[in-house]
Symmetry: C2
Subunit: 198 residues, 2 copies
């Protein structure tokens, strides 16, 4: 776990979430997730890439068997994911990324685990393609940020005590992904630009 | 499961099965899974490969919040996995496989979904490494079977009405993976042999 921001990363966010923080967060996350899943479906159907979201890890504690073939989980808890949400293969390369929505003017490091950043870094070292996809909900914009930029921000933040990456940084150093009809979030175009250019 | 130190795991295990086949099956699956997870941990720690098991997909229906920060899932069901259990990167290549235990003299196709076979085939077409790892519990042997062999068996089975791949086929066309101390199941050695030879 990266240092949780004890400060106040996004007043607005907190207001929206006050009524039911978990529900609100999950709904926001879900629509971006939904758009990404549809995009991955498009890429799969058009034989462009095989990229899937990993299931959310759950620790199952108790299972009931109401009938012989049916298992009903009656007690379980969400677990911390060991890696990132998405991975697969594109243009013969291993591809791996984490996708997050944020509702403020900056992206809080609290939305990532330290081991996820290390995982992405490790993927790069092994010759894979790794990055972050960040949706700024208020601006209706999605950016791709490469791992080297993520890490330099992260290290700078540790030194300077900053808790987030400002939107302006994404605007300058990220790749803006313009939404389209299909795929809804054509992030592989940005991947082409960053990882396959020249 | 493989290197049981007692020397006689067979009988004891089988007796246990009789009472509750489902429980036994799941436990067996888990110990193979456990050995694979430890092997992947070894490969990760030694910077050889980044391979993780995907979480088991669960459809969450109802969540309780006993306290502000704690979510308890109180109704959920196991879902059919959309892909395979394991994937990652090795020697710069995308790697993807399904691992199964079987307790009989042959491997039943019923242990695989058709879309999983198609997924593995698709991975191969995209330039990735894809295969099956099968543990024969009674024989305490693990085999790697490449996707092309799996598919030719599968297609033959459709024509001939066969429902499984005989052990003898694995012995002849698979790669036997000899257990070791660490990693417990050194399957990447078999991968080297099949996919990186010459």
């Amino acid at each position: 776990m990266i240092n949780y921001p004890t400060g106040k990363p996004g007043k607005k966010t907190e207001n929206t979430f006050l009524k039911n923080p978990n529900l609100a967060k999950s709904r926001l996350g879900t629509s971006f997730e939904q758009a990404l899943n549809e995009s991955n479906q498009y890429y799969l159907q058009h034989n462009i890439a095989i990229i899937h979201k990993k299931p959310t890890p759950v620790q199952v504690v108790k299972v009931d068997f109401p009938s012989r073939n049916k298992a009903r989980i009656v007690e379980a808890y969400y677990k911390i994911p060991s890696t990132t949400d998405y991975n697969g293969i594109y243009r013969g390369k291993y591809i791996d990324f984490e996708a997050k929505s944020c509702n403020a003017g900056s992206f809080p490091f609290a939305h990532l685990f330290k081991h996820q950043i290390e995982h992405l870094h490790n993927v790069t070292n092994h010759g894979g393609i790794a990055f972050l996809l960040i949706e700024f909900i208020n601006k209706q914009e999605v950016y791709l940020l490469t791992v080297d930029k993520l890490i330099s921000c992260y290290e700078a933040s540790l030194n300077e005590g900053r808790k987030s990456i400002p939107y302006a940084y994404f605007k300058e150093h990220g790749i803006l992904i313009k939404p389209s009809y299909a795929p809804r979030i054509p992030y592989l175009t940005a991947v082409d630009q960053v990882f396959f250019a020249k």
